[in-house]
Symmetry: D2
Subunit: 368 residues, 4 copies
Amino acid sequence: MATAHTDALRRLGVQVRGIVGRTPERGDTAARRLGLPRAYRSLAEVLEDRSVQAVHIVTPNSLHAQQVMQALEAGKHVICEKPLAPSSEEASALVDMSLHADTVTAVCLNVRYYPQCIHARDLIARGRIGTVRMVTGRYHQDWLARATDWNWRLEPDQQGRLRAVADIGVHWLDLVQTWLDDRIDSVFADLYTFLPKRRRPTATMETFRHVRDEEVSGVEVDVHSDDAAALLARFRNGARAVATFSQVSYGNKNCIEVQVDGSESSLTWRSEEPEYLWLGHRGQPNELVTKDYDLLSDLATKKARYPVGHVEGYPDTFVSLFGDVYDDILRGGRSAQPRYPTFTDGYDLVLICEAIEESARVGRWVPV
Amino acid sequence: MATAHTDALRRLGVQVRGIVGRTPERGDTAARRLGLPRAYRSLAEVLEDRSVQAVHIVTPNSLHAQQVMQALEAGKHVICEKPLAPSSEEASALVDMSLHADTVTAVCLNVRYYPQCIHARDLIARGRIGTVRMVTGRYHQDWLARATDWNWRLEPDQQGRLRAVADIGVHWLDLVQTWLDDRIDSVFADLYTFLPKRRRPTATMETFRHVRDEEVSGVEVDVHSDDAAALLARFRNGARAVATFSQVSYGNKNCIEVQVDGSESSLTWRSEEPEYLWLGHRGQPNELVTKDYDLLSDLATKKARYPVGHVEGYPDTFVSLFGDVYDDILRGGRSAQPRYPTFTDGYDLVLICEAIEESARVGRWVPV
Amino acid sequence: MATAHTDALRRLGVQVRGIVGRTPERGDTAARRLGLPRAYRSLAEVLEDRSVQAVHIVTPNSLHAQQVMQALEAGKHVICEKPLAPSSEEASALVDMSLHADTVTAVCLNVRYYPQCIHARDLIARGRIGTVRMVTGRYHQDWLARATDWNWRLEPDQQGRLRAVADIGVHWLDLVQTWLDDRIDSVFADLYTFLPKRRRPTATMETFRHVRDEEVSGVEVDVHSDDAAALLARFRNGARAVATFSQVSYGNKNCIEVQVDGSESSLTWRSEEPEYLWLGHRGQPNELVTKDYDLLSDLATKKARYPVGHVEGYPDTFVSLFGDVYDDILRGGRSAQPRYPTFTDGYDLVLICEAIEESARVGRWVPV
Amino acid sequence: MATAHTDALRRLGVQVRGIVGRTPERGDTAARRLGLPRAYRSLAEVLEDRSVQAVHIVTPNSLHAQQVMQALEAGKHVICEKPLAPSSEEASALVDMSLHADTVTAVCLNVRYYPQCIHARDLIARGRIGTVRMVTGRYHQDWLARATDWNWRLEPDQQGRLRAVADIGVHWLDLVQTWLDDRIDSVFADLYTFLPKRRRPTATMETFRHVRDEEVSGVEVDVHSDDAAALLARFRNGARAVATFSQVSYGNKNCIEVQVDGSESSLTWRSEEPEYLWLGHRGQPNELVTKDYDLLSDLATKKARYPVGHVEGYPDTFVSLFGDVYDDILRGGRSAQPRYPTFTDGYDLVLICEAIEESARVGRWVPV
């Protein structure tokens, strides 16, 4: 993620001062690889540097809450990778802190920044598909499909109890809540651990990297977190959602799908062909919206940087997200109604995750 | 459906003797339109005709059970549209009767007869995707998306209490149970009636026909059956299923999707491009199986009648289904393990529907 | 093709009297396999049978002209597989005969009968895409991609000098001429024989069947006909066409693609997903027309037999084609402006083929 | 293009010193918009700045040759947008100059830098599809489809005589020559000017921007350049190519398609879903290669920066291209066999364009 953040900040003309590694050596290596001026020895050293205005937290999940707190106390703007915190209590505390601070705060829920996702949100807001009835979809990956796959997310002390839900499901949930401008108020969930035993490798694994044969260790580890999950949800305004999240679905490399059924039309978006938005109709042909500036909403147009037909992708969503955040930073403070994901959004997702976990445990609907 | 059945039987070289209409006039019209030798006045008249060996029941759901019973008593072979019966008691009685009869009995679950569906079943049986973990998918239509859409299926006394589940969901469930060669043993369901009030038109509506403006009546009718449904299910062997069934999803004309995630690979089939089977892998490219006779299993090859690349579709599934049924009829009796859907399959689906209804009512997992 | 014809005729309620095989034994086998009442010993025997009204010619190309002539002389209606005749002289003679006969004559150019192809033609005729500028596309197959693939079409005395063009290209050309209601008036072509030497197998090969290893013979045969071809064409009204036809393109099982660029919009159809018509726009989203009876033209609706979303395919095109032909047969004679492909259409395609062959030889544009 | 270049250079950590506008005012505006330190008054001023090592030429085509020459004379590294020069004489002179200079030179043919395009090239080089038989495809856009569309490319003195071919066709040709590691040695072409009269607007038009109603002027302008073109080509090693290039095809926003038919398999790539490479087979299922690092060649892997399933697009190709060029710049000189497009490649494309123009004029095959 350090690469994605650095890359996007540079495209915005933001000066990236440096990086902190897990160890000084890793920091030096990363700084060299990314061409950064400096590797800080520690977060404390960063926070003392008065030339640093904003801090990006892209560490393992268990460290987020404490590091955000330190950065806020030091008066820095904070952009934190999701999840914001391991529990709703901690997330709530961070929301409180952020509301009392003068600085800008954001959570890296980048998916909502695909131009077609911005457009979808605007279409729904303008009533173009009518009242939303039902949202269906999935977020499926396959990089943890085998018992020999490994990543720090499989360590419960680094990831938390939820995995597929907390790691990828939250992107789907954030997208849908943003599109509907509505909040989920109860959930029913089923969590699946298809691989209750895995082998931890001898090497540290980068995310999405596969363990090589020689790295497979003899140590079998019990895993309790969710390889996949099924979710039914109800929104405050009556809409329903049904989704599956999976990190063990072969062939789905990073497949987000959302279909929103309204009372007049439907819309569907798929992350693997992100430049298309499919509109479903009756009595007129279904439509495929492309990145055509005669068609896209003003906000979507503003965030699409390249000509029609010239595909933009995942890296570009970070530019759009950080663009909004740094607009606020340059203006000197939070907008009244930021489009970018706030700590409140991050907190809300932690609440949903906790309700999901409880529902799966008790086998009933649970309010958020 | 009379057209689909007649068409398929003729392609098999089966002589179609005649048809019974709801009224004698409708019967005469249908016989003329289809070029059939005769319109019978009643089912009784059909059953008395000794030249008739087999009877196809394609009436509204509420009549199936009684008509099947009469036909069995008359010693005819019976092919019945789904659902077999409105309750598991009645369905069970029909299974008993059929097991004691010498005649061949079948339920028209035609979806499993797409060549790629036969191939998918064979791939799973041969262990080609490993142990099945999870099945996800949908069966979505849009022909009942508006409050002015109407069909006899909206009349509770003709359809039963379940609609989307009983009318289309059962095809999805049959397909998945067939592929996995496994039975669902518990379900959790949520049923959605997005249009609790509809307008019954002045004319009788054919299935899939839309009400014209002048036919919309002033009579508002309360509807309690499911416009859409969400289903979580557990199979005896541990696999999980997650599906949505909807008749109100704009743009989805008749969209069946099934993704089966196994421990080695996955497979996906979509009814709207039925000649492709998508195989998901890791470490090798995903694959698109076409109707290539070098690739398809023997059974799939046997059921595909046209050259590779020459698309076969929905009408052809009936030819394949009836082909298997009439093979047994010609041989003079039921095979030991018929590939075609039996009354037992039909009964099993009624049991699942009842569990779905109960689960939605009590908000808990319910065993089948 | 005997199967496709028999199957389609039966669906129309037409009584198929019998079949003639290449040998009496093959005729008997075919009659048995297809459940036909009779195997005639010869075409002469068929023509003497006064109960036979219409004859379908589905023999190798070199026999078409003579057999058509005999059947016309016997006063039968004639439906002939393409190509109508090996040369424009012979085709012209058949056109003359057919114009003087009282009987109905047709050539089996079935592709124009896909419901979306009928709809495309109607859209263009109604000016919905403006003036046609350019037509691009392809007809690619792969069943002759290897030197060990074999079929009678590789024998020059049975097929004629052109192969990919004459066998599949003519379908593309007929479709495009029909859609544009215009005639090609000059062509530039390049013909490719990538496999100048092939191995003729020891067994007779059915079309689309692959030679098994044990059937590959040691006899190498020189092949001069086109494995693939490139065509540039100009229409009388100024539109241009660019197409490739190939029987040696791996992975393309039977892939027809046509994109028509007009002055207002474009349309694209692909035979491998035949139920969709893609409309290209600017200033409004591109559209995907499905078999929605609220959208399709009256003629397309009349020819689509199954509900929206229930895929129809290749076999169904023959039902639609023969339906039109037998309507005329039942009415007792040719319509003034038949929608079905006539001998004049067949003759026109032979003329284009001859111009293609000449152009490839001389390396210049050649008028048709 | 200034944005695309600046964006990509920043991602590489290259310091962008400034920009030259068509006028000082436009230069100032651009520098401000892009956050660049400086707007130079003229190219001369840039060339005098000793801190500038490399110059990117992204001006209208007619200025390229002269500006490249000046930059080379000043000892700068030069990266030039295509086309390199308006005639083969001038292009040849630039090649000579560049071969005698110590600096690095490149032409911005970025399409070959999509990860799947790199992989395709490597697959072909490794013989994975056998001997190449035929390459088919298209490069279609629609942004000049109407008589009121305008851009400097429609001014013959700025663009040259060829438009669709020279502006977009060359990308297709470069890609194919690169993949096949072969050169086109003769061409047959047909050029189409469907809109011989257009209206030049009152405002200056950015590329891909559409003229607004109030900007449409009363001045009708004659246009002679190609709205679209058809090309047949022969490669030195015997392969054939067939392509169409169009800027007037509604609905095709920026659609590059290439299918390469080999003697063992085929491969297809489409720019609008750039992360997939489709492999066509017989006897095994067709395959869809995704950006899976277990599958991609080493070079493709090196150039893909984001995890599997996280779509990269058009902006990323410039990072990859400039990455290779600046590697050479940092190393202090041209590699022996650069992967990036050289002036020789640019020259070769000018030669092909001239042969295309001549062939269309004389109606015959013309050697390159």
